[in-house]
């Protein structure tokens, strides 16, 4: 029971998410950017493992479901590649009169894992860099665009809520598509609801517009409130990210990530580049675990 509780709280507090959005953003730009170009199996393995762990830390039990869903994707993408790419020394069998080779299959696996890794990191990105963080990040650069985004984010759930309300209201006066409605009736009823919704939204947007102008929208050059502040930890992290990123890129320059699959598998030996890359990707996980452990220790002392 104790360990279970420990794991539960383990997921709740993500230290990396509490960092400045700029740190979050730059990290993910680096992680996703590198994951879509590196094909070396050792690096892929590092990417998949670190991405998977962090994804699970963020999502808990639900994370397993998504990862399980990614596996068939991986298999399909892997076996498809040799159908298009017939190069390779080791012929496994013939399919549709074309050779199906081991090297092409391995290459497919590499491409498929690139895709899976990218999905994993994007999943983490979504969880960490929420819409408000994203917009606040660009608020200073382009205030009007960022405001527009914020308003759109607010509009979507509003629309859904109002649609439900209209459908419910129509149902309670016997309007709207019942159980026995034909497709045509359903369609025309849907159109009526959409029409009503548009009218309602327009009416609401007049009020919103008034409320914006009443609070000085357009009266001066807009500034943007930054709710997040760069702390010393953020600057340190940014430096670590920059150094590890530079190391990884340099390693790539030295050819440490060269991986050729067809016609023959040729891989550069693993070296310090791999270590740098792995360390880079482990940043959020390490922060997450470190914070939770510290928290548990300080709590157990009370």
């Amino acid at each position: 029971m104790g360990t279970l509780l420990f794991l539960e709280t383990f997921m709740k507090y993500d230290a990396f998410s509490k960092c400045h959005p700029l740190v979050n953003f730059l990290f993910f730009v680096g992680a996703i950017g590198m994951s879509v170009v590196i094909q070396h199996p050792a690096y892929l393995l590092a990417g998949a493992v670190t991405g998977g762990i962090y994804y699970l830390l963020l999502n808990g039990k639900k994370g397993w479901k998504i990862i399980a869903g990614l596996l068939p994707m991986f298999v399909i993408l892997t076996v498809i590649n040799p159908l298009f790419n017939t190069l390779g020394e080791t012929r496994l069998f013939d399919l549709f009169g074309r050779p199906y080779t081991l090297e092409a299959l391995l290459y497919g696996a590499a491409l498929a894992s690139m895709f899976v890794i990218m999905m994993l990191w994007f999943g983490c990105y979504n969880k960490v860099l929420t819409s408000d963080k994203f917009t606040s990040l660009f608020g200073n650069v382009i205030p009007s665009v960022s405001l527009l985004l914020v308003m759109v984010f607010r509009m979507v759930p509003n629309f859904i809520r109002k649609t439900r309300q209209i459908i419910g209201a129509r149902k309670s006066v016997g309007k709207g598509a019942g159980e026995a409605a034909t497709r045509r009736e359903k369609l025309s009823d849907g159109m009526t609801v959409v029409g009503a919704l548009t009218g309602w939204a327009l009416e609401g947007s007049i009020v919103t517009g008034d409320s914006m102008r009443a609070r000085g929208y357009g009266a001066a050059k807009r500034s943007s409130f930054m709710i997040y502040r760069m702390t010393l930890t953020d600057w340190t992290l940014l430096a670590v990210i920059a150094v590890l990123f530079a190391l990884t890129v340099t390693a790539a320059g030295f050819g440490q990530m060269t991986a050729v699959f067809v016609p023959d598998v040729e891989l550069a030996p693993a070296s310090w580049g791999l270590a740098a890359y792995t360390c880079y990707l482990l940043i959020p996980t390490v922060l997450h675990i470190k914070e939770n452990v510290q928290w548990h220790i300080s709590r157990s002392k009370i």
């Binding site: 819409s131 408000d132 205030p143 405001l147 914020v150 308003m151 984010f153 607010r154 759930p157 509003n158 109002k162 309300q165 209209i166 419910g168 209201a169 129509r170 149902k171 309670s172 006066v173 016997g174 309007k175 019942g178 159980e179 009526t192 609801v193 029409g195 009503a196 009218g199 309602w200 009416e203 609401g204 947007s205 009020v207 919103t208 008034d210 409320s211 914006m212 102008r213 009443a214 609070r215 000085g216 929208y217 357009g218 009266a219 001066a220 050059k221 807009r222 500034s223 943007s224 409130f225 930054m226 709710i227």
Partner: protein, 552 residues
């Protein structure tokens, strides 16, 4: 120097064919005053308030002059107007622009181009003053109506305005949230000296505290005086607006009191003690307790419901029997599940346990066309959700092809003159009646109403009561869910208390409110120490008059 000086202001909308919406309005508002602007819907209150802020002023023909701090309004810069004149509107939801509480708080400051340091200080200050700190990081969508309106107020106060204009700010809120909001406004006025100009339906909460009340009718200012004098004046003029005055005032003049008129419940109690301390008649005849109900129009048995599998139960064993041909009111706090109970009755929510019987037949045995065509219908909380066409007439025509029937129902709901207007152009009370007409066109025998008095003024409430009375006369059973204790006390046949997902007690309004000491009407709170079970101003007046006659 006056804060606002309005000189002979005339205004007419371009579509009004010369009819003036504001007619020779002259007013002077001093710094730090608390001013209540009252008048029926359509008397020009909103039009006047909007003239006090250029960006919100509607297009139309205007003459006269408005001075703000001695300067003509047109010459006050947009920046100054935004920062110094705060304006809160009716709709809590549509006024909010952004998706996070903290962002909404800073919206005005961002527009004015404030720097980070100022913004940080102001935001922290506002969050503390308004008690927002706990939900500072929340999504706006997760706030209650009252919280949203408080956020709207806070985000305006963050700009440190000199004057605060509020246009029916609490009409969409429940009574508790509304009085919270109004108390905050009063606190701002007293503690910060901000000038407040407010229009409100709920005069009970603000009238006693106002420095001045201004009454408008048909675009003219017909009275401008202290609240006490306004009460007297409206009574002498037999003005319709007298019905909207706080209960103590109505009782005082109803019972032909003399001297200083009481404004608050406390003053009302003192006045009653002085004149009716030992009443000969102390109760009105009460209706008989109900016996067993024969053939109830609606019976609910042990309804249980929750929205999601792991969310808490909203309905926790709701049971009720509603007698045919009665007006049955269900009162209770916000979020107690009253509206959900109505939704469960008409099948929008499906209870996972329990039975709903409509006219003795389980509701699931009805076909949908049979149930909603001539048996059961519900008026939703927001009448706008029923409007789908461009005119009221088209909306009604969606329900029936029978022109005569349409005209008949329109006459009952008193909307014949509004049939060709766009539903959104109507006032709250008119929208409510148009939506009611649409619902009535299904010929319901059982009518469910969800908060029918929300956002409408006293004058329209009486109209609505008249309509409901007519419908009851036609044998329609009405079940109403409401926060409005005054309305329920006056017009319902039965009142039920909804609490904790159940219906706890049911009784006649007199006994129900007469036995409560907090959850009751102002008239009852004012008179309970001398009379028993007097729950409306009319009850108290009747008892006062009977006692005076008995003495003579």
């Amino acid at each position: 120097m006056a804060h606002f000086q309005i000189k002979d202001l005339n205004f007419s909308y371009p579509t009004a064919q010369g009819k003036k919406s504001l007619d020779g309005v002259s007013l002077s508002i001093e710094k730090g005053e608390y001013i209540v602007l009252c008048g029926k819907s359509g008397s020009g209150k909103t039009t006047l308030l909007r003239q006090l802020k250029s960006v919100l002023a509607p297009y139309g023909k205007k003459s006269g002059e408005i001075l703000f701090n001695g300067m003509p309004m047109e010459k006050v810069s947009a920046w100054d107007q935004s920062a110094k004149i705060g304006y809160v509107m009716q709709d809590p939801d549509d006024q909010i622009v952004t998706d996070k509480v903290w962002h909404e708080l800073t919206f005005g400051l961002e527009s004015l181009g404030c720097d980070q340091k100022t913004m940080r200080a102001r935001v922290a200050e506002m969050a503390c003053y308004f008690g927002i700190a706990d939900w500072f990081h929340k999504d706006v969508a997760n706030l209650s109506g009252g919280q949203k309106q408080l956020l709207n107020l806070a985000s305006i106060m963050a700009m440190q305005p000199e004057v605060l204009i509020l246009d029916e700010p609490t009409s969409q809120l429940d009574p508790i949230a509304a009085s919270d909001f109004l108390n905050t406004v009063r606190k701002i006025n007293i503690e910060l000296g901000t000038t407040v100009i407010i229009t409100e339906h709920r005069l009970e909460d603000i009238f006693p505290y106002a420095d001045r009340a201004i009454v408008m009718d048909a675009g003219r200012v017909i009275a401008d005086d202290t609240p006490r004098n306004i009460g007297k004046l409206l009574y002498q003029q037999k003005n319709d607006m007298f019905a909207a005055m706080p209960t103590p005032i109505r009782v005082f003049y109803g019972a032909e009191g003399e001297g200083d008129c009481p404004l608050t419940v406390r003053e009302g109690r003192t006045w009653l003690s002085r004149h009716y301390s030992d009443p000969k008649v102390n109760a009105l005849p009460a209706k008989e307790l109900r016996e067993k109900i024969e053939n109830p129009a609606l019976s609910l048995k042990e309804l249980w419901f929750r929205y999601e599998k792991d969310s808490p139960d909203v309905l926790r064993g709701v049971s009720a029997e509603i007698p045919t041909g009665s007006l049955y009111a269900i009162v209770g706090g916000n979020g107690a599940g009253k509206s959900t109970a109505l939704k469960a009755i008409c099948g929008i929510c499906k209870p996972y346990r329990g039975k709903v019987k409509v006219f003795g037949k389980p509701v699931e045995k009805y076909k949908s066309a049979e149930l909603f065509g001539g048996c059961l219908a519900m008026l939703p909380q927001d009448p706008k959700s029923l409007f789908v066409k461009k005119t009221v007439r088209e909306d009604l025509a969606e329900m029936t092809k029978d022109e005569q029937k349409l005209a008949e129902i329109a006459a009952i709901c008193e909307i014949d003159h509004l049939l060709d207007s766009h539903p959104y152009d109507l006032s709250g009370g008119e929208q409510q009646r148009s939506a009611l007409a649409k619902v009535l066109l299904t010929n319901p025998k059982l009518l469910l109403l969800d908060e029918p008095t929300k956002g409408i003024d006293n004058f329209f409430k009486e109209k609505l009561a008249g309509i409901l009375c007519k419908l009851k006369g036609q044998g329609i059973t009405i079940v109403m869910v409401s926060h409005d204790v005054e309305f329920c006390a006056k017009h319902a046949d039965w009142v039920s208390m909804f609490f904790d997902g159940q219906i706890l007690t049911t009784d006649t309004p007199r006994r129900f409110f007469g036995n409560n000491s907090f959850y009751t009407t102002a008239a009852n709170r004012m008179s309970r120490h001398v009379f028993s079970m007097a729950v409306t101003a009319e009850d108290v007046v009747a008892l006062c008059n009977q006692n005076r006659e008995a003495e003579v």
